[in-house]
């Protein structure tokens, strides 16, 4: 756990910072004490602030040789008792996928920040995008569930980062902080809460038992140096950690449990925000940076007397299935503005038989309010 004394200086203060910096402050306040990363635009500011501040709270910052190693380092450090994080953008996120799978399989709490930029490949380095939504969900191979959060403001970048660390501890799972180059680089007001107002989920530690890969749906971990010998492996393993790669039953029990610990707790994890949904004919669903002009468009259309409602997804994965299904039933059409060619629109289609209209914008500039409202008006 990191040194609270130093953080006291920031608590209660109002800062004028970028989304990346707000996320890094959020991590410090959530108790992060280990960061390994490889700087990349537009995520470099996260690494920069962590490099500067982490040693002051008694934590460690390591600049790694690449993103593969960064992800490996945060998984390793988490097993020594650390609260760990890395930050990257699309090209680095692609490299991290292998070890994200390892974190899922070994049920390692850690936070991965992806400040999305235009892709595929190197794409547009300095421009924001939301093209990694599905990569966050299915980037690593094999059956797994993942938690991914999408902030839409500087304040939320801080608040959701604390939440990301808490969820990673609570569900013993990697959590992806899925922001974008636009929110990452905007500067707005950030009010840092008082220390007593920030809830920190402690790590569950088993005193004696070494069955830390089974027995209960979310088993406790053990602490490094506790005296137990334990095997942490990405291969299929029994509840005591020993490999068993030939039994159908062992694999079935392990993977279903890892899947269910998130799937069956969907209602606890999923967060969203609704606007004007009590009385609406059309629904707008958006998230992250594109939720800002979307809400602006909803407000301006409401002023013109159009009955438009909005659902803003804060948790992207697991998907907000119930509320999406319920709200989509109430309307004639659903609009999904996003900075990709329709990744979440496609997910929304799974929950409704009503027409889902994509309002896509790519190329590093997000929608303007007018673009969204004109698109809606021409379709209603």
């Amino acid at each position: 756990m990191n040194n609270k004394e130093y953080l006291k200086d920031f608590a209660g203060k109002t800062l004028f910072v970028q989304g990346d910096e707000a996320a890094a402050y959020g991590a410090l306040f959530a108790g992060c004490n280990f960061f390994a990363g490889y700087p990349i635009t537009p995520a470099s500011e996260v690494a920069e602030l962590m490099a500067k501040e982490l040693p002051k709270v008694g934590g460690f910052y390591i600049q790694m040789e690449d993103e593969i190693a960064s992800m490996g380092a945060i998984v390793g450090a988490a097993w020594t008792g650390g609260k760990t994080m890395t930050a990257t953008s699309g090209p680095g996120f692609s490299l991290m996928q292998e070890n994200i799978g390892y974190a899922c399989m070994t049920e390692t709490p850690c936070v991965i920040v992806d400040v999305q930029r235009s892709g595929p490949s190197t794409g547009q380095a300095t421009k924001g995008a939301q093209g990694d939504m599905m990569q966050a969900r299915w980037g690593t191979h094999g059956d797994h569930e993942i938690i991914a959060l999408c902030p839409n403001s500087i304040q939320e970048s801080f608040d959701l980062m604390v939440e990301a660390f808490n969820l990673s501890e609570k569900f013993r799972s990697p959590v992806i902080f899925l922001t974008d180059g636009e929110i990452g680089h905007i500067r707005e007001k950030l009010v840092i809460p008082e220390l007593k107002d920030i809830f920190i989920q402690p790590r569950r530690i088993s005193e004696s038992k070494v069955d830390i890969f089974g027995g209960e749906r979310i088993p406790p971990m053990i602490e490094f140096g506790q005296g137990h010998k334990i095997h942490v492996t990405g291969s299929t393993h029994k509840s005591n950690g020993m490999r068993d790669v030939s039994s159908q039953n062992v694999h079935d029990v392990l993977i279903r449990r890892i899947y269910e610990k998130i799937e069956l707790n969907r209602d606890i994890i999923v967060k969203y925000e609704t606007h004007f949904t009590d009385d609406m004919d059309y629904l707008v669903i958006s998230y992250g940076a594109s939720a800002r002009p979307s809400l602006g468009a909803v407000h301006s259309l409401r002023k013109q007397g159009k009955k438009i409602g909005m659902l803003r997804l804060i948790t992207i994965w697991p998907f907000a299935d119930k509320i999406t299904r319920e709200l989509c039933k109430k309307v004639k059409k659903v609009f999904v503005p996003e900075m990709n060619l329709g990744q979440i629109a496609r997910e929304v289609e799974r929950f409704t038989s009503n027409p889902v209209i994509k309002i896509s914008k790519i190329g590093g500039v997000s929608h303007t309010i007018n673009e969204i409202s004109e698109e809606i008006i021409s379709n209603i």
Binding site: F16, E182, I186, K189, T368
Partner: protein, 178 residues
């Protein structure tokens, strides 16, 4: 009151800092603020701009396509953003740097010889403070005193010796607005 502005120029002219100073000063006065940069991968040169919104009410979207005020420090910025000014809006430009000035008749045009004045102060880096002075005098978005105080917060302590020069530059900029 909501002031939706864009500061545009070449990378290295201090356009991003100019917008940031305005937004930070707005925040010091308790207003809602949002600052959004846009730039290419180059460290210097290339074009850079930042949308800066200062408002008394919640800012729903940082992304806007028309502006109350455009600050243009190079020719491409005048060419690109003059047409995006709302009728009755304003353009403030560096007249020492721009060969084809804005021509619209439905907006207020402020020509500030910023680069020449900065040369007279023997430091071209204060161009942005001269222009910001003109902006504040013309738009009154925040109080000039707030900007002066903000300098102490924004500049790292090792640069505090530059503050008197910045104050002087700011005052010169203000003096161009009648």
């Amino acid at each position: 009151m909501t002031e939706e502005s864009i500061f545009a120029g070449f990378g290295g002219q201090g356009v991003l800092s100019m917008g940031m100073m305005l937004a930070y000063s707005g925040m010091k006065e308790g207003k809602e603020v949002c600052w959004m940069p846009s730039y290419g991968p180059e460290m210097r040169g290339g074009t850079a701009n930042c949308i800066t919104i200062v408002s008394d009410t919640m800012i729903s979207s940082p992304i806007i396509s028309t502006f109350d005020t455009v600050v243009a420090l190079n020719q491409p910025s005048v060419d690109k953003f003059e047409k995006k000014i709302r009728p009755g809006g304003n353009i403030i430009y560096d007249s020492a740097n721009i060969l084809t000035p804005p021509t619209r008749t439905d907006i207020n045009i402020y020509a500030i010889p910023g680069s020449d004045e900065a040369l007279k102060l023997k430091n071209t880096k204060v161009l942005n403070m001269i222009i910001l002075g003109a902006f504040i005098a013309a738009r009154k978005t925040v109080k000039p005193e707030t900007v002066m105080k903000a300098l102490y917060d924004v500049l790292p302590e090792r640069h505090h010796k530059m503050i008197p020069l910045n104050e002087k530059a700011f005052a010169i900029g203000m003096s161009f607005i009648k």
